[in-house]
């Protein structure tokens, strides 16, 4: 090993240093000649859309069930066409942030190709309203990697594919709320109609009594009957009124047992006083007064 640097050694050292600088100077990964093409199975391929690292495809793209997507590009490190270690297309659901990736097929020359049919994309992403496509390329070493969103694609599922969608896997999370739907409350007709019919029904009573009195009904024999049987007649009529009173009480508050008790008390009174009262009525009939 020489301790003193000779001019030739200095030159060599300088060259080496220069090489080091060029190696350390970060170049960056990039791509050129990039196209994206959507073609349908059995149909003519769609138009090739060009994109570059600075201008992504701005058109809205749709990917139908039988469609497939073809991306061609050439990767470069700085200005030299070269194969990077990583060249992936990331497909992301823009709403759920779910993301999947697809590796390109890259030749040593840097020519890369990716064929992506809709069925290759996971179902969870296909149900998204919009997918963002990002190309990511990078490799070992100092060159800076590149990631760029190249397009937005709307996946369209046909009816059969939609039907075949599996239910999403169980996830521990808040579930949808459920509120009981009550049956409709029972409803009454408008009150005015009820009142009209109430008036019509109640009106029958004066009509009935009016008709009876018009046909010369009267209570003229009342004093005579009271004189003939002063206890039986009031008691009989009173017990009939009391029966109705018991029924009213049953309707309003008392129970069936109290009602039966009251009826049991009233029954013999009504039966005995009734038979006495009717005996008096028969006496009047036999006298020809009825």
């Amino acid at each position: 090993m020489k301790l003193l640097p000779s001019p030739s050694n200095l030159l060599a050292a300088g060259l080496l240093f220069g090489q080091l600088i060029s190696a350390v100077t970060p170049s960056s990964w990039t791509f050129t000649d990039a196209t994206l093409q959507i073609s349908q199975k059995g149909a003519e391929a769609g138009a090739k859309q060009r994109f570059t690292t600075t201008s992504p495809i701005s058109d809205a793209l749709t990917l139908k069930t039988t469609d497939s997507l073809k991306i061609l590009l050439t990767t470069k490190e700085g200005d030299v066409a070269k194969r990077p270690h990583q060249l992936f297309l990331f497909v992301k659901d823009t709403s759920s942030e779910l993301e999947s990736f697809f590796a390109f097929d890259v030749k040593e020359s840097g020519k890369a190709r990716l064929d992506l049919a809709q069925k290759d994309i996971p179902i969870a992403l296909l149900t998204s309203p919009s997918l963002s496509l990002t190309v990511a390329l990078g490799s070992f070493g100092q060159s800076s990697p590149l990631s760029i969103e190249i397009a937005k694609v709307t996946p369209v599922l046909d009816a059969a594919a939609k039907k075949a969608l599996p239910s999403p896997p169980l996830k521990y999370q808040k579930l949808d709320e459920i509120h009981h739907i009550f049956r409709a409350e029972p409803r009454s007709p408008p009150k005015i109609i009820s009142l009209v019919f109430l008036a019509a029904v109640a009106g029958c009573l004066p009509v009935l009594f009016g008709a009876w009195f018009a046909l010369s009904a009267n209570v003229s024999h009342l004093p005579k009957s009271l004189a003939a049987s002063p206890i039986a007649h009031p008691l009989f009529f009173g017990s009939l009124l009391a029966f109705e009173g018991v029924f009213l009480a049953y309707y309003l508050k008392i129970n069936i047992f109290q009602t039966l008790g009251a009826v049991a008390v009233l029954m013999p009174v009504a039966a005995i006083s009734g038979s006495r009262a009717l005996r008096e009525v028969r006496a009047r009939r036999l006298n020809g007064e009825r």
Binding site: L98, F140, I178, L198, V201, S216, N218, L241
Partner: protein, 463 residues
Amino acid sequence: MGLTLRSVLTALVSLVSLSQGISLTGPRTLLVLEDDVKAQFQTLISDLEARGFTTTTHTPKSTTLTLFQHEERVYDNIIIFPTKLKGLGPNLPSSSFLKHATAGGNILILLPSSQDDNVPTAIAELATQVDIYLPPKGFAVVNHFDPADAIEPEHNTLLVDLPSFPSDTKNYFNTGEDKDAKLLYRGAGFAVGSSPLVQPILKAPRFAYSYDTKEASSFADDENVFSAGKQLALVAGVQTRNNARITFVAGGDLLADKSFTKVAKTNKMSGNRAFAKDVTAWTFKETGVLRVDGIEHWGEEFGKEVVNGDVYRIKHNVTFSIALSEYSYDHFKPFVAPADDAVQLEFIMLDPYYRIPLPASSSPLTQHKNSTTYSATFKTPDQHGVFTFAVNYKRPFLSNIHEKRAVTVRHFAHNEWTRSWGISGSWPWIAGIWVVVVGWIGFVGLWLWSKPVVAEGKGKKKQ
């Protein structure tokens, strides 16, 4: 219930005997490692011991090691450290780990960071059984986009952000002081299945990928990439149905001493040490354990006089409340549900008739000191039968709560219906009854006491 009693006991024990925190499962911790590995994890082990864990060390091939004695767990927690061995010893088959977890014990598994090291067969088997899929030997994660060291060309030491979760999930893994600290990571990563029992804790950065270092050294083609981006998990936690926890760390160096250092790029300390505490605390049940402190329900009929009664009426307001607390290292504190999450109550008869959120109540019936009371009022359905109040609160990283209370919902009693005069549509019919009554009484009076007016009157005709 068993958990509650046990947790109260352990909480008492921790108060009496130790000032540090203690796991709800217990402090007895088994370290499975070879002697040369122990030196790499000094800080992790001493941090655990400082928190009250008692450690026992065994080598993987140890013949004296036994996880069960008299069918009882010997250890509460197990840590499997990275090993170069292809297989663990005869006393550590994968079934022994499952038996340990079934008995309520926790397991933390550190996989080797180096792609040249093996994952023992028993561990790979266990992983598959809990829906975690490890890549074969030789895989490594790289990230060309944000390598930890700009000079190092391999890009296999990653800088990873501390975990963040959607707003409906509690984050127990970012409790360190520096929330923006980066984690240093090296390892292979793994894929996580769709089971709700397994949750990824730490995911790879967006453009990172795990590839076969032997087969794909020059280019990562489709066949030799294991997974990439957010689908690639670096740390994942499994919580079994009995709330035992199994955590997989894909790169053991994440918790090793050499990662508890300054990050060259940011010139700040890495977040690894705090993250190691969070991961071990969650795995060994120092965090994320819920307890039900009380359930109360009462109805409109008897008000707060009758609490937890058996019978409610249909279409009556009923209030249900549940008090929840969560364990935090050495004490129970009120559990606060995440912002976008909700503790939900279901009112079930075969199907849920209601599933409603239970908001935190400011004025609970019984004031619990260390818990939050979640409460809601709803109207019982117009359907009688035997219903169940059910709180089925299962969330990532939280121990499961599944509480049920059955009650009878009865129909209207006969005197609880609206009276007939209160229904306007019945008025004509009620009037009809009284017209008949008055008409009949009048008719009886006239029949008894009417006097024929003329000789050819009705009296004669009636006979």
